[in-house]
Symmetry: C2
Subunit: 327 residues, 2 copies
Amino acid sequence: MHILIIGAAGMVGRKLTDRLVASGIGGKAVETLTLVDVVPPTAPAGFKGSAHTLTADLSQPGQSEKLVGARPDIIFHLAAIVSGEAEADFDKGYRINLDGTRFLFEAIRQEGLRSPYKPRLVFTSSIAVFGAPFADKIEDTFLSAPLTSYGTQKAIGELLLSDYSRKGFFDGIGIRLPTICIRPGKPNKAASGFFSNILREPLAGAEAVLPVDESVRHWHASPRAAVGFLLHAATLDLEKVGPRRNLSLPGLSATVGEQIEALRRVAGEKAVKLIRREPDAIIQKIVAGWPSDFNPARAVALGFRAESSFDDIIRVHIEDELGGKIG
Amino acid sequence: MHILIIGAAGMVGRKLTDRLVASGIGGKAVETLTLVDVVPPTAPAGFKGSAHTLTADLSQPGQSEKLVGARPDIIFHLAAIVSGEAEADFDKGYRINLDGTRFLFEAIRQEGLRSPYKPRLVFTSSIAVFGAPFADKIEDTFLSAPLTSYGTQKAIGELLLSDYSRKGFFDGIGIRLPTICIRPGKPNKAASGFFSNILREPLAGAEAVLPVDESVRHWHASPRAAVGFLLHAATLDLEKVGPRRNLSLPGLSATVGEQIEALRRVAGEKAVKLIRREPDAIIQKIVAGWPSDFNPARAVALGFRAESSFDDIIRVHIEDELGGKIG
C-alpha cells in the first residue's frame, strides 16, 4: 500500500502519519509513505517501509503530475491556506485552495487516461462551506452558502470531487471536519483558537483568555477523532455513499460553558480559575456566523464516530499530549 | 447605459436584445449595446444607440479583459456549453463553463483594481445545480448536488459569483432559469426538447413525438418570462438579496398531461391528435433525475414573476412567435 499525504507537516497530517506508521490502514501494512507539504515534513520515526518527504506547492504546474505519477493507492489531500489568510490574500487563497486542488484532481485524471488508475482520494473540507443563517441543526441537505473565500474554495473543491468521482476518475470522498479541539501547541491568533486555549492552557497550569460569552455554542471533535475520520474515509465502501461524496462529520455540539464544566470535572476548580474573561466584540461577531450544531445522519450511518462528551475530548488530550498527567 | 451581453446569439440573448432595443432597461435608454458570442451575433435592427457585435471565446486569455475594459454598466453572462455537450466533452465543458466564467469575473476585479468599477453582473445558472433525490418541492435552502458536469460548472459559477460579490468586486446575481417552454425553432435532440416539441409542433400543424409518460412533472417558464427575469435581476436592489446571491426562480410545475390539457383548451383536439407517443426508456431515465417542483420563496418575495398556467405559456408562444394565430 502506497499512501500520499499532501499537507503532511500540519498538525492533523503529522498525527495521521504516526497512526499509519503504528497501525497501518484497514488491516494492511503501509509499504510506501510519501509526505508532502510547502514546508519540509518530518520523516516518520520507526517506519519500516519506504518513506519520501518532499516539499511541493500544488498550485505550481507539474507538481501534482510528479506526485501522482508514482501512483499512490490512497491520497490524503489536507493542504490548504487557512481561513484568515485566504480572506486577507484573495489571489493566494484561490491559487492554493482552488487551483492546487483542481490541478491535483486533473493530474489523477490524466494519469488514468494514460493507463487505468483510480486511487482513493480523501479531501478535508470544512464546516466553513456553510454560512449563516442556519437552522438550529444543519441537516445533510442544507445548502453550501459560505461567507468566506476559504469556505467558497472548499465548497468548490467538494463539487469538483463529486464530479470527478461520478465520472470515475478517482474514488473521492470529502469530509467536513468539525473544529479540532483540543488543538495541541501554542495559543494561536485564529478566531477559533480560544475553544482550545481555554482547556489546553489551564491543563498545563497556564492562564488562557476567553473572548466570548459562555453561551456560545460550537461543533467540536478531538485530533484523535479527526485521524479516525480520515482512516475511515480512506477505507469505507464508497458504493454506500452514492453520488453525494461530501459529508458533514459527527462532532460534539457544546457551549463554552459546557466546555468549562467539563474542565472543572476533569481538572478541578484550580484549572477553571486560570480562564480570564476578556470579551472581544470582533471575535464575538465572527463566531456568531459559524455553524454550531449538525445532524450528520449520513456520516453516522456510514460509521463515522466522534466523542460524545467534552470530558472525553479533554481526556483524549491528556492521554495523547500530556502523557496521561495534568500539569 | 452600456450593456454587454455574452452569449448574445442564443435564443434568450436575441430576445433580451430585442427587448432592450424596444424598451430600454429600468426606465433608462440603452446607449451602447455590446453583443458577444462564439458565433457572430446579429446587429440589432432599429437600434438608435451604438451597437458592437463581436465574436469571442471567454475561455481564451485576454478576451474578457477587452470586453470589460469598455466598462459596461450591466453584464449579462448567458454563454455556456449546454448540458449534453459538457457531459460528452469534459475538458471543453470545464474550459468554457468554469474557466470562461472565472476569467470574466477576474477581469472585472482587475479592472476595478485599476480604478473603481463595480458593474451589475447577471449570471444565468440552471436548475441542473440540483441532483436527485429531491423533496417534493425544492426549497431555497436545499443543497446543490449536481449529477452532471454542466450542473457542477454552474454551481461553481454560483459560488464564485457570491464570493466576488461579497468582496465588492461586482454586484452579482445568479438566476436559475426553469426549463424554457415553448422554445421556438426546430425540434432539437436535447433530452428536454419534447416539453416544447409537443406544443410548438402541433400549434404549427405538425406532428410531435412524446417519449415519456404523461405523469412526468417538470418546471417551466416562457421565453418572455426568461427575459423578464433577466431585466428584473439587472435592476433589482441587491441590498434586499443579501449575501446569498443565487436564486431559484419562479416557474410553473406541470405534468406532461397538464401540458396536453392546456393545448386542448387553447388549440383544440385537432392539435392534441398530432402528438405521437413513442416511449423512450433512455429519455425517461434522464428526465426522472431532474427537479420537478420548487418553492422559490425568496425570488417571489423579490418580485420575480413567471406564468401561472400552461394556457398562458401557450398564449405567449402564439403572440410572440406565431403573430397571434395558430397554424
